[in-house]
Symmetry: D2
Subunit: 507 residues, 4 copies
């Protein structure tokens, strides 16, 4: 059986070679022991742990398309729309359990996109990447490994493309071509879960022009490969995790779980030939990016909905602690939170259910709806968080430190004066407020809000795709036909004749 | 072959007995010839016409669950989630073609709800309604008939329930019980497509208490039954349809199509026993209403999206006529229209794809998502319409009459001064503006806006159901577990133990 | 005493020479008797009538800056911020009374803008327009006349400027220069209240380049001048006004009042020298447009708030008729309507209170806030109207005709079945629903919604000005100083040194 | 000259008796030196410093109504609408300079409210509080002291009022009455700036019933009075301030400034008679609360607008650093930020300009508009912050620590790879991102977002007042008159007859 459990996952990471991880100005001797990293690893570990829970097996596991074995769904090549729907439901489940980013989707989305693009590349250009990538995908499944999908370059001057940058390294590129592989240099930003991964799948960050062949590189590396440096990103309120003990646990808001991003620097790293899946095929960079992005925009219709469930649960809980759960305006606000959260979920489900088979054999989401999904994710969680702060009350930002609670003198005062509704625990009330702070301003907000904004592409990226996929020409036919009293036959003919049918399911 | 075409449909309506239809203060001798009614019938006729178009057969037809025959999907008992998805896609298709309400969904939704509720009633109460209703449903299929789903009572004082009204008839009720049937009295408001229907399926309008047995009546009647009076509702700008000829066509905005609502009065109408499907079973009134409402709230995620496609097409078209199609703010507004419209569609698809089998054997939508869908329908089309008015420009409300256009003197002036972008037709520009007026203020707006608000239940009705279905208890478990650093085992156990799993697919 | 009353106003219009007014394909013999025009004149007449009501004298009248006499405020050159505030309050008052557009603001705004621009022109260019215009303004005051501010050209291809149009007449221009004046040709669109006016003040529609001297024409004409043709604009539901009698009154929603727009065509009209206030000074066209627009954008923070008060009153009334006035969600929605409406009012008041003296001596609004005001007007009334439709219930679009009410047979049925809350009048309920239809879809919606969108410039026009006036450079100083821990002295110095202080009141 | 400068203010605080201040579990020996407190004091110090800047004298100072001397405006009893407008502009100015809460408004608002309420109390009840309070106000002016307005009780079970709580101390109350004064017990939550204040003005937190006399206590105390304990509130990212040095400065986002809230516990504190301004007059508690709240809701239309200016400046700056300042969607988003921010400002200005004289002689804001102002403040800053995060890019939450920047090894990598637009400073880019993090998630967000939500009353509190002040009865008259075609005379009469005119300025 290929599936690791949580402990096996932790052990497997510990077996990596020493990695160069910097955090807060120092290189870490034992990265996995650092409280920021340890808690972020806890989130990832859930993806292993719940896969062994029979209650969740349907969502957490799948039958491999490559071997027929039962595998962790995070390694699965989607075979049908139901697989896509289950992916979203799995993500919601995990988002509910950890209340933050569990980091493993990016690899899953990269696997499926790379699988499809290598197939198309080979078919069109006669290259031989697909079989090679299939082998890679199979290994990931067998090992139940986590792949960091390394796409986002640091980009330098955003007004210029890769080849125009003053410093050519601002987009990751091939700096040397050898008979047995290539040497790459550059940096990938915002690498979610990278320090918690086994492998890295490097991909280009944008469409490329023909003079940008050196940037058209996709390849895999071990996370502990020679030449990779990780510089860990700070998160709002990260220091709450330091110190340890109950005070730290309380003030962190969510003691056990966290997310992770790092800047990943590739300082002339060698990649052997059999780990290269694109090398100079500039014309396919755009497709790869769009496919990855669409899969990943679908993902947000699952994980962020799970986080939203936590936010809603926190609202309902604090309303009880405060003694206002029955106020009509509170109930109505919670309805609104649910309405917004389920709207996101509907988008995640719809772009999955409307999925279609790719030439490579795996299944692709409805790209228009996946972009619509992500566009909503850049808005609705912010409104849900705003309502959550409304329901929480001002104490969420004026609450004294947990150490004041644990100090007997001030603790007695706080116990007396921070009492909520009769019969409710003041201690629990305090901890719930800290969770709400976490979700709307702290480490959780990094995942629930800012990552919702920029992960899988910033809002404008989705608008560009919505514009491209919305099939305005066909819609103009509808309007003109009605305005000019055209016959039904004419409309049908106009639609059939030559109108590009991008949005397949409705064409 | 059971499926009528458009002409057969028209003929079949003409064969009905003379109906008592009042409009604008007079009883109509030949209702089907009145311009309001004729154009509303054109919308319905599309549901017959497109069913014969091979291009649309997959959406417009289905294989009957009762006979295995190919039938019009509007008569179909949904057998799986794919049927539900296709229903929504069919509705979008029709909404694109007529730009207004095609009136036939209510019957389809009533059929499926009644089918399910009669089954449950029989099972629980030992009644024998289901077989009787199955026969009725089969007849509808075979005849390819339209059923008006008559649910909404006039309600009188909304602060009181049925039995408390001063005038007991303000909710439709049984006034006499005979050995061979019952006599009913009352009125159903907002009867969409009623004058264009063959049959009427009367249902209670709300949950009922045990002292309201007389109101717990569900039954079928011919639309031309003795004792039924129709009083036609006015629509904004309806008079534009009068007069006829080109001027009328132009100023109507959409010459061919329209919607229809009427007040339907039952003046002691006799219903034979075999047409009665609920009679006093007050405890099932609520379920019937909720099931019908959820199906119908799904519907709006299809038809209104189709209307939205027309609105978007009108925006893109008028931008071209005005010469501003390339302005970045115009393009961005059209992206926003698409984003909002596809968000509705996503909700329609999601509540369908997440559907589940009912005990009766037919398929039911995910009720939470269907209510979320409809709640969005009460908001987003208004914003789409607002943007459409923004893009249209002020001329949409200051444009002179089509008669001014047709008068040679003023026509020449208008032709000169209302010219738009070079090379564009001023005539088409004018007609497109009239379509936009129709969609945002006129007859089309009745369907696209106000009906979006109140059809299938007003916004608050959805909020009540979202509140009921959102499973707050489970969400509180997530939040409390994270806030209190509870173990995963505890969370899983808490969720499994006794938490009601209303929202099945995510439990 | 210079101030006319309502009857004197009507008489004065009747004394005009026969005007060429086309409506619905025919030239009208007696325009003022046509129901569309008569009801629009009623709205204007309120501006005369209320000026004689001592209760409203403070708002409706002012002490002339030219003569010291008491005059109608609609003829007043604003002398201080309080005048600007009172203008807004007067507009709210009138908007409450007629529930639509009372048409007289555009002249007031044109007077004040032209007064200021002619002064600046003379000062810079040595022209002699200001004294001439002062004389004109004085005559308007003395006669208590209405001036139609004729700015908006028909514009043809919006992707091109005036001089680039294929047909040069698509922007109004001078076609002949004579020793005693000029001859103009062109058309002004959307002329609010033009048929109800005594005079027309023609102005250019946009900034002009030096090769567009012929378009830099500002001048006054009598509304009945030789060569002017009016082609009346249609409004949604306008035909409800035809027929007359009670049925027409009921179905019109608002029987007495209406708005007015017409296309105004200038077919080689001669303008004598002393009525010309700009003639070729292209560099001042932009200023005139901006000043007029800012004044007019302030206006919308008054009149539309008054219309909003009617909408709110209608919501509160229909809630009573329906028996739901005490439902918490209904009350909350009415709070939201008030919140939005008062937000508009706050913008109207603020741009007035923050006004500043112009070189010409009259007072100007805070242009940034006036544009912000209008930008909100393009959004919030749409949301208020949406909520109003929510509260109204579906009957507002399915209500039978008033003729059905007046027909004894159907009338009895309607009286029985359309009853609302106990003790409420069904007749009043029906009429209130018609008012709501009027305000959200009918003639009233033309004024309350579409005119809110496009009157005084479409939304994008305000965004261009907000961008120009927002003083980003100063704001960057604040941010950089905080980010870089700059000293207070540095910030203050940076702000003082050379940063343009556009937004005077906060500099 | 009564006005202190910044240094004098700091010295004056240092002269206070040792105060009992707990923070992070320990009693502080020297509170003013703690980095959290020191930076919060810097914000307050600005109110002293800028008062001595001639450029800002008009806003920052006023002529005392009590002495005619020039005083700091924060001690001023408003004498006219212009004073109210200047208050708002002063607050915007300060908000621009510190980018957070400067804490001094609450005292100003409490002074004006208490001044008015004591007058009304004396007049109605024959008490003699006003002269006493006048003396207190005079002392504050003369000393240029800061007054903490202590209103918000901890409230316990929010479903119960003061007298119903299990623990009677959960609302501050008189526990002993002596001949020379009273002894009070209880706690005030969220005490903004309390540790930076000289005096405390205790007030009741809500309307009171006649059985709650012990809670109807208003009185002044020295901030260092015997028996007061302060427990300092945590803020998001507060620990960034610890450690000191450049790394701490950078990561704090805004090095110099901060806000402050503390829980203030009154443990049987004695208040001498001459410092008591309400003692048992339950019927005036509600008025005092409402007046204070309205003044304070006006305040937010100034300070949060200033914070918004910083947010907008940060958006414009980071867009430049990133090289996207000219992208049309970025420019449009900045326009939207300005539009929203100026909408708040308009509300602040409008409720001031519409102010009216109180019986006590000082000026009061338009309460309806002040509540509308605050209601917008609970929404629009959240949207501004959301757009700011959109423009900032994901790096704002994945940026490595400043210590990584300062470490030569990682510093070189960051310098290379975090480069932005050509010619821009990477260091400045990093610091601007930290400011944005501060404003949207960190200490600044406490002030700009959560305090905007709950300060001066949570959103529902404003809705209650909007409902009370909106004069629905008058609005119903408008609607009914139009719907029923009522004569103007009737409307005017209906409005005059007995309709309460709450919203004076528009009556």
């Amino acid at each position: 059986m290929a599936m690791m459990n949580a402990q096996q996952y932790r052990d497997s990471l510990a077996r990596r070679k020493p990695m160069k991880v910097y955090l807060d100005g120092k290189r870490l001797d034992n990265p996995l022991e650092h409280p920021y990293i340890r808690t972020s690893m806890n989130s990832v570990a859930l993806t292993y742990e719940l896969a062994h829970d029979p209650e969740h097996a349907e969502l957490m596991t799948a039958k491999s398309a490559l071997t027929g074995e039962t595998i962790n769904r995070f390694c699965h090549l989607h075979q049908n729309a139901d697989d896509l729907v289950k992916k979203v439901r799995m993500q919601r489940l995990l988002g509910q359990r950890c209340g933050t980013c569990f980091q493993r989707c990016v690899g899953l989305d990269a696997l499926n996109a790379m699988f499809a693009t290598t197939f198309d590349m080979d078919r069109k250009l006669g290259t031989r990447y697909h079989a090679r990538f299939r082998k890679f995908a199979l290994a990931m499944e067998k090992n139940d490994w986590i792949v960091d999908g390394a796409m986002t370059d640091v980009k330098g001057d955003r007004g210029k493309r890769a080849a125009e940058q003053q410093d050519k390294d601002l987009y990751l590129r091939v700096v040397e071509r050898r008979s047995d592989g290539v040497v790459i240099r550059g940096a990938k930003a915002h690498q979610t879960g990278s320090v918690n991964s086994h492998m890295v799948l490097v991909m280009p960050t944008a469409s490329l022009k023909t003079d940008e062949k050196d940037y058209a590189i996709a390849c895999a590396l071990a996370a502990d490969a020679q030449g990779i440096t990780y510089i860990y990103g700070r998160q709002s309120c990260d220091e709450r995790k330091l110190g340890g003990g109950e005070a730290s646990d309380i003030d962190a808001g969510s003691a056990a779980y966290g997310g992770q991003e790092a800047l990943m620097v590739f300082d002339d790293v060698f990649v052997p030939e059999d780990m290269i899946f694109m090398n100079g095929e500039t014309e396919f960079a755009g497709q790869l990016v769009d496919q990855f992005a669409s899969y990943h925009r679908q993902s947000y219709g699952g994980c962020k909905v799970g986080n939203g469930d936590v936010a809603i649960g926190a609202a309902a809980s604090i309303a009880e602690y405060n003694g206002v759960a029955k106020a009509s305006h509170i109930k109505d606000k919670i309805v609104e939170m649910n309405h917004l959260n389920e709207t996101l979920y509907a988008c995640g489900i719809a772009c999955s259910a409307n999925g279609a088979k790719l030439p490579a054999g795996n299944f692709f989401v409805d790209a228009l709806l996946a972009n619509v999904c992500k566009q909503n994710v850049t808005r609705l969680p912010y409104e849900i968080a705003r309502i959550l702060q409304d329901i929480a009350g001002g104490l969420m930002v004026t609450l004294p430190s947990a150490k004041d609670w644990l100090n007997p003198q001030t603790g007695a005062i706080l116990k007396k004066y921070l009492a909520g509704a009769d019969g409710m625990s003041t201690y629990e009330r305090m901890r719930m407020l800290r969770l709400i702070e976490n979700l709307t301003m702290g480490r959780g907000a990094v995942a629930y809000l800012t990552e919702s904004m920029h992960g899988a592409g910033s809002p404008q990226a989705q608008r560009v795709l919505i514009n491209r996929l919305a099939n305005l020409e066909e819609k103009k036919v509808y309007a003109k036909s009605l305005a000019l009293n055209g016959s039904l036959e004419t409309v049908e003919a106009a639609i059939r004749a030559g109108l590009e049918k991008i949005h397949t399911p409705d064409a």
